[in-house]
Amino acid sequence: MIDWGWVVGHLDDIAFLLLQHLVLVAVPLAAGLAASLALAVAAIRHPVIYGPVTALTGILYTIPSLAAFALLVPLFSFSWLTAFIPLTTYTLLILFRNIVAGLEGVPSDVLEAADAMGYRGRQRLWRVELPLAIPLTMAGVRLAAVTLIGLATVVSILGSSFGGLGLLITEGLQTFFPTKYLLGGLLSIALALVVDWLLVRTERQLTPWARATSGRAAGA
């Protein structure tokens, strides 16, 4: 079903599409992380915003991406904004809730010890609370990254200007060329699995104190 001769002959095109896909994932992920961090910190300080933010990001989350992309074209044409905006908003729910849960999960005796040691507000946040929130944050980043890899395949339905692995799938479906769409599908899956694995490793690296604990299922 897959014409490997075609694959070998098109390795550079495939590599380029893969790179485009990574950009389609990395940029919204970074933007979403920054936004979610800001929102989460605000939510810890002013708990009243937690509900509305969760509700809003939740609603944004349920808007089918195809519709979101299509509706932004009249506004932003086929520029990267049309792709990046929905991709970023999809990460917000996941990241916001995970970071808040991470920050809330910091034991109060640790906070007291930090205060006793003289850490002030922002210092305490950056040097104590956020590092301890890393496990749940990373779980969220992992989920968001893998989600984005899937979402980025859909934007190709709008046309070739965004590229990415989804273009292989969409073009393959249009001319019923199984090599293209199967390859696009398999590569998307492979990319998601590799990124997921890499982020698990990163999470473990960043939390050396957690390595002693095993079998944590929550947030995994």
Binding site: M1, G58, I59, Y61, T62, I63, P64, S65, L66, A67, A68, A70, L71, Y90, L93, I94, R97, N98, A101, E104, G105, L143, V146, T147, I149, G150, L151, T153, V154, I157, G166, I169, G172, L173, P178, Y181, L182, G184, G185, L186, S188, I189, A192, L193, V195, D196, G215, A217, A218, G219, A220
Partner: protein, 246 residues
């Protein structure tokens, strides 16, 4: 906004198998059947692994892999196989169904496992000491306590499936996704349909989620009442571990 109202008030939008009632039904049907199938597969396995504690690593790995699979990719990969099996249903129905089942399994599996694992082991030992059989321990002690988390898994699965089933329209499956793709294909004339389709998906997803959230809270209160606060539900049941929505 005008276009949306125009589409909603046009009687033709409500008729036939491209009409709102039919497509809504299609969408609910595929979601329900997929979640049912996923439950039949994932729930027993998740409960068993959670209860016995064995095979946790395998469960987590399968769940991770399943969660990483982009649904659009799954649909196209299934295509050649499903077309060979059934030319009639193999283009749209089978791939969409399979992709939705794969999407729904991980949260149901993981939350069943996590919910049971979080139950206080001492409580279970006490139960066994009092003469309860294993199945009684599961049914009368573990399940009520784990229920909120397990329902949380269903919430995630349902939310994801309802929103992701729209992608089936790319291979011809109807449902609400057909309004999105069809509306888009009609350009300006289809704007109302496009917005309407997206809106219907959102409303459906949120409504179902609200019902499940209510069930979840009830289960949490019941667990608290009968067993005392066996543990803190907040960190597990309030994060529904959302997943891919196309």
């Amino acid at each position: 906004m005008n276009e949306l109202i125009g589409w909603l008030t046009d009687p033709a939008s409500w008729q036939g198998d491209s009409g709102i009632p039919f497509r809504l039904l299609e969408h609910v049907a595929i979601a329900a059947v997929s979640i049912l199938a996923a439950t039949l597969i994932a729930l027993p396995v998740g409960l068993w692994i959670g209860h016995t504690g064995r095979g946790a690593g395998v469960a987590i790995n399968i769940s991770n892999i399943g969660r990483a699979l982009p649904s659009y990719a799954v649909i196209v990969i299934i295509l050649p196989i499903s077309l060979a099996i059934s030319p009639d249903y193999g283009l749209d129905l089978i791939p969409t169904f399979v992709a939705m089942v794969i999407l729904a399994i991980p949260p149901i599996l993981i939350n069943a496992f996590a919910g049971l694992q979080a139950v206080d082991r001492d409580l279970l030992e006490a139960g066994r000491g009092m003469g309860l059989t294993e199945s009684q321990v599961l049914r009368d002690l573990e399940l009520p306590l784990a229920a909120p988390v397990i329902i949380g898994g269903f919430r995630t699965a349902t939310l994801n499936v309802i929103a992701t089933a729209t992608i089936g329209a790319v291979v011809g499956f109807g449902g609400l996704g057909a309004f999105i793709l069809g509306g888009r294909a009609k350009g300006i004339a289809g704007l109302g349909e496009l917005i309407g389709g997206a809106l219907l998906v959102t409303i459906l997803a949120i409504s179902v989620d609200l019902v499940l959230a209510w069930l979840q809270r009830r289960a949490a209160r019941r667990a608290d009442r009968s067993m005392g606060p066996a543990r803190d539900f907040r960190d597990l049941s309030e994060i529904p571990v959302p997943q891919f929505i196309p």
